[in-house]
């Protein structure tokens, strides 16, 4: 279990206990948190689970694959801390993770 804080574009916060092994996207979708649609269910095929990882956590969330990099490159409102949340696996090391959602998924 890791505590993940999801912050909607509106500022609304959701603190969720996400099971280790699930993705950050799955943690959001399974709790019906608005702003992470994940149309493809985590196949890295749609870029509708775009999030910003809190600066302090960027290193811990690991490297982006080439596929994720390319998909993100064409998402809206991309920033250096942008990730596709379906590609971040939740581990104990991510306990306390904070992610924010972009306006385009508002």
């Amino acid at each position: 279990m890791a505590k993940v804080t999801y912050v909607e574009h509106s500022g609304a916060e959701h603190v969720i206990d996400v099971k280790t092994g699930l993705s950050v996207m799955e943690g959001a979708v399974k709790h019906n948190i608005p702003g992470i649609d994940a149309d493809c269910g985590g196949a890295c095929a749609c870029a509708t689970c775009h999030v910003y990882v809190d600066e302090a956590w960027v290193a811990k969330t690991g490297e982006k694959s080439a596929m994720e990099e390319s998909m993100l490159d064409f998402a809206e409102n991309v920033e250096p801390t942008s990730r596709l949340s379906c590609q971040i696996k939740v581990t104990d090391a991510l306990d306390g993770l904070i992610i924010r959602m972009p306006e385009s998924q508002h």
Partner: protein, 409 residues
């Protein structure tokens, strides 16, 4: 039953139904929601059934759209293992198998599609399967494995994904296609050739122009597929993947217009203002292409779920989306956006031999559709250009030294 007809009744607990229920709650809808599903499972994702799940890379928990506990927490009455049989539009009620009747103020039909079967001798043998539900996938998975021979009848994407999964599990596969090429209904010839070659290189056999006459068996279990002309292709399991007609009967019987799908408008509403229909079962307008079409994809189910949820809760209609879909086979990520209607030319960008390319379907200088293989930039930018109806230069689009961002600039 209830005297006041309040709340929303959703018929069908698939990806579309499950999503619209959750969205209604996200959007602040407070009236009762009931969702009726024929399968014993709460809404789950079907795409992985022929992909990651079949290969053993995803479990039941990861298939579920939401945990079972979600529905009670969100006050969504999930009625599983029953089927809605009749809609009474004047009374605003629906009868369920087993005798219950549920009232509605708003009805959402999300009954999806069913796998088409083949009316040929031997189709009822054990080991002759279709792939639509989790139960279907369980049955298929139990028959795949090292040394197991899969015969796929119908060279569409589900069949090809099952083929790749069968090989990943150590088995072999042959694809039998009635048309002169696989994917004839859904993809262009270049893609058919590419996928055929890619599967062949991994040991998959193809038979095109193959008319399946019957399925042969021994001891009640399938042993082969007999083709017109007399040849028999031996197999341990036969997967029929020849399309999925819409489950529109309940709507047609209620007097709603159906034309190869329940006819809906751009808000997913039928001609009856109290009744919406979403997902694979609908025939919907595609404004970009000025025609109606039945789309069979998760992206469509979700878009229409958003349309219906917005309409029901009085939110502004969501922006129109460009339809898209994807397929995973081996190390290939295939992504498709738009529809290849009114196309006058097809242009390949990238290197097919290196399995990294995109096929653009053009109408003049407009992109109507893009089919991308391991080419996410082409997919993402192509999808955007389709939606914006932005003209492009064919020469620049074909030139891979010019990035997709520059092509669009």
């Amino acid at each position: 039953m209830s005297e006041t007809h309040s709340g929303t009744l959703i018929i069908g607990a698939g990806h579309a139904g499950g999503t619209v229920a959750a969205l209604l709650r996200q959007y602040g809808y407070e009236a009762p929601i009931a969702m009726v599903g024929e399968e014993p499972l709460a809404p789950y994702q079907r795409p992985p059934l022929s992909k990651a799940w079949l290969k053993g890379e995803a479990d039941a928990d990861s298939l579920a759209l939401r945990p079972d506990s979600f529905y009670a927490e969100a006050n969504i009455d999930l009625v599983l293992g029953v089927r809605a049989t009749t809609i009474h539009r004047a009374a605003k009620t629906a009868d369920l198998s087993g005798g219950r009747t549920l009232p509605y103020e708003t009805l959402i039909i999300a009954t999806g599609a069913r796998a088409r079967t083949l009316p040929i001798p031997g189709a009822d043998l054990r080991g002759v399967l279709t792939l639509r539900s989790a139960a279907d996938a369980e049955a298929l998975k139990a028959l795949l494995g090292p040394g197991k021979r899969l015969a796929v009848i119908g060279g569409g994407y589900i069949g090809l994904e099952a083929t790749a999964s069968a090989l990943a599990l150590g088995g072999s596969a042959v694809v039998l296609e009635r048309e002169p090429r696989i994917l004839a209904r859904v993809s262009c010839e270049a893609l058919s050739t590419f996928f055929t070659d890619y599967h062949r290189a991994r040991g998959v056999a193809f038979e095109v122009n193959a008319m399946v006459e019957s399925l042969e068996g021994a001891g009640g279990h399938v042993t082969g597929v007999r083709l017109a002309g007399g040849r028999t292709i031996a197999c341990d399991v036969a997967l029929i993947g020849v399309g999925a007609p819409p489950n529109e009967e309940i709507a047609r019987d209620a007097g709603l217009e159906c034309a190869g799908g329940i006819v809906v408008d751009e808000h997913a509403r039928t001609a009856d203002p109290a009744i919406f229909a979403i997902g694979d079962v609908t025939k919907r307008p595609l404004a970009l292409y000025q025609r109606s079409f039945r789309l069979e994809s998760v992206a469509n189910a979700l878009e229409q779920a958003r349309q219906a949820a917005c309409a029901i809760t009085g939110r502004p209609a969501p922006a129109q989306e460009v339809t898209w879909n994807w397929s995973d086979q081996y190390d290939l990520k295939y992504q498709f956006a738009g529809m290849p209607f009114d196309v006058d030319d097809v242009l390949v960008r990238g290197d097919m031999a290196a399995a990294k390319f995109a096929v653009f379907h053009l109408k003049g200088d407009l992109i109507q559709a893009v089919e991308a293989v391991n080419a996410p930039a082409e997919f993402m930018m192509g999808k955007r250009l389709i939606g914006e109806r932005r003209p492009i230069s064919r020469e620049r689009l074909a030139d891979t030294t010019i990035s997709m961002k520059e092509v669009a600039a």
